[in-house]
Symmetry: C2
Subunit: 355 residues, 2 copies
């Protein structure tokens, strides 16, 4: 393996000194890039792209050729796990992901298989290994998974949802069945992330995209508890190094302290809280990753620079900040606008790291 | 006018002693009721129902015939104001509200007319007066409006949105135009609610349904500020009585203190924060209205009762709680389930009001 040339991202996750704030962008490999849309077309379908290690590697590397980003993130989808469990993932134009065989009864939950990710998700590990090879140590590679709760919402609802009636009905009416499902998913996610680590992922992120639709009690019982199990079950890297884990529970600003107490290294933070407040609440227990409103990238370059400056100032001086958006970059963004943002972070952030 | 027979709701909003916790339900006149669906069919269209005072009155009263609720709420839609401004409101099956003439440029914003609600929204005032007459003082009538920011999202996006790119682009790139739009909307909402009060509304609620998509700074500048103007501009009732105003900024738990400081009488609270915490943060400055997860109504009657009990316990002893869901009741709910919820509040809440 190549020696890592840029370790800003890993150092920031560990709250160690850096020369400037590292930056990567959720969905940095995505539809806003014309070269991505080209490869996506070539792949025929979204899952065709995810399951082809060469193409997944290519789109992972695309944003790094354009912008001096400090990390790469595996190109994949959070729904690979339920797909491997046999639920029949497919995408309906304009409606998002769908499952042909959603999981709703206790019997269906019992019947879910235990995955061997190196077998049924081998294409992901192949992509991880290939990306690591092609990165040549330029920047670290982030692996990821959906959280058990977030995966469960899609598996029970059969796709995206507005009110989450079915999956919440399961929590409220059949809590034992819900716990069985979430326990199986926590095992699957842990095994999956450990396989990504073994294949070369140098940090991992858990996307709890729908944690924010739960009440405080149900969040703790049905989402947080299972992320805790994942944090506890993650292995060290091939050289025995600790692999940092980032938990990103969107819309869960009320739970930052509890998330920080899991022992994770960093929290993703959405844009609905200031980093000043978030940092004040978690202290120096974790690093923070975020949190510019993705809509700012639709504004003018001047406004982008101004808002980037405000986000850096909001975290303030000292270590433990990874700059990112508060959610994924949207397809309408002009690539030059992202360029302006990355440039602004490079220009303005060194002032926050002078000792 | 008839003497008000049940003033629990108004007393709770003023944090005065009550014998039990009052209860009403957002969207209590709605699609989960077969008798509503019948009248809706008769009306031909959703806006046909809103603009017909007799039918709007009928559906407003329907839930009160089934359940011993402590308040009625005007049946209408938050988009009546932009519709009256000439934006061409229509509903597309499965896609929600749409505007034929969205407002996007500074010139289009300048051209928006100042409304006389007693003229262009006379059908609303007629409905208010008719409902008051038919209620015969049984319970108070709540009037309502969307917040300026929430109305602006629909007017600029041309309908519902996922990422709010256009309207946020306006805030970030053309803040002066955005302030002009929001100022005009704040005037329109204030005039509209004052007309509802003059026509007979005994309390009013402002629905800031999309306040939660803003960053802390943009929320204060573009949503909160304009709700403050509305609170400041509301008139007393026909007998000189203060009309309580409830602000409901969904997804804005980080802003409860700031919302409470506007001088409103009560805050709507969604289900993602415990009432214990919310009450701790706002103290006795305001009453709280909420906050059961609407999905609980899809669970069994036993679970509904248990969760209703937990919500009452979460607010705890003392005055200033109006029981409600944390968001509107959904169409799939069985009416008997709402019956069970209302019964549970009636049975269990007196224990919290013994002196």
């Amino acid at each position: 393996m190549h020696q890592l040339k840029n370790d800003r991202f890993l150092r920031a996750l560990r709250r160690q000194p850096v020369d400037r704030t590292p930056v990567w962008i959720m969905r940095q490999a995505g539809r806003y890039l014309p070269e991505y849309r080209e490869v996506r077309k070539q792949a025929g379908s979204f899952m065709g792209l995810c399951t082809n290690p060469e193409l997944a590697c290519e789109v992972t590397l695309q944003p790094l050729r354009r912008f001096p980003l400090d990390a790469a993130i595996l190109f994949s989808d959070i729904l690979t796990i339920p797909d491997a469990m046999g639920l029949g993932l497919h995408f309906v134009e304009g409606e998002g992901p769908k499952f042909s065989r959603p999981v709703r009864s206790a019997a269906e939950i019992e019947a879910l298989p235990r995955l061997d990710p190196n077998e049924s998700l081998a294409y992901v590990m192949d992509a991880v290994a290939l990306i690591r090879k092609n990165l040549e140590g330029a920047v670290p590679l982030i692996g990821f998974s959906g959280s058990p709760w977030t995966l469960a919402t899609y598996m029970v609802e059969g796709g995206s949802s507005k009110s989450y009636g079915r999956v919440k009905g399961l929590l409220y009416d059949q809590p034992r069945a819900a716990h069985t499902l979430l326990g199986k998913l926590a095992d699957a996610v842990t095994d999956y992330l450990n396989a990504q680590i073994a294949a070369g992922a140098q940090a991992v992120q858990v996307f709890d995209s729908w944690g924010g639709v739960l009440s405080p009690e149900t969040f703790r019982e049905f989402s947080l508890q299972y992320m805790q199990r994942i944090v506890d079950g993650l292995h060290a890297g091939p050289d025995g190094e600790e692999i940092p884990v980032v938990l990103f529970s969107k819309g869960c600003n009320g739970h930052l302290e509890a998330l920080a107490a899991t022992g994770c290294q960093a929290l993703g933070v959405d844009w609905t809280i200031s980093l000043t407040e978030a940092r004040g609440r978690v202290g120096d227990r974790v690093a923070l990753q975020g949190n510019l409103d993705p809509a700012v990238l639709l504004a003018s370059p001047e406004v982008i620079r101004e808002q980037a400056a405000a986000t850096l100032a909001s975290f303030g001086h000292g270590e433990g900040h990874v700059f990112n958006l508060g959610h994924g970059i949207t397809p309408e963004v002009k690539p030059e606008h992202l360029g302006e943002l990355v440039r602004a972070i490079q220009d303005l952030s060194p002032a926050y790291h002078e000792s």
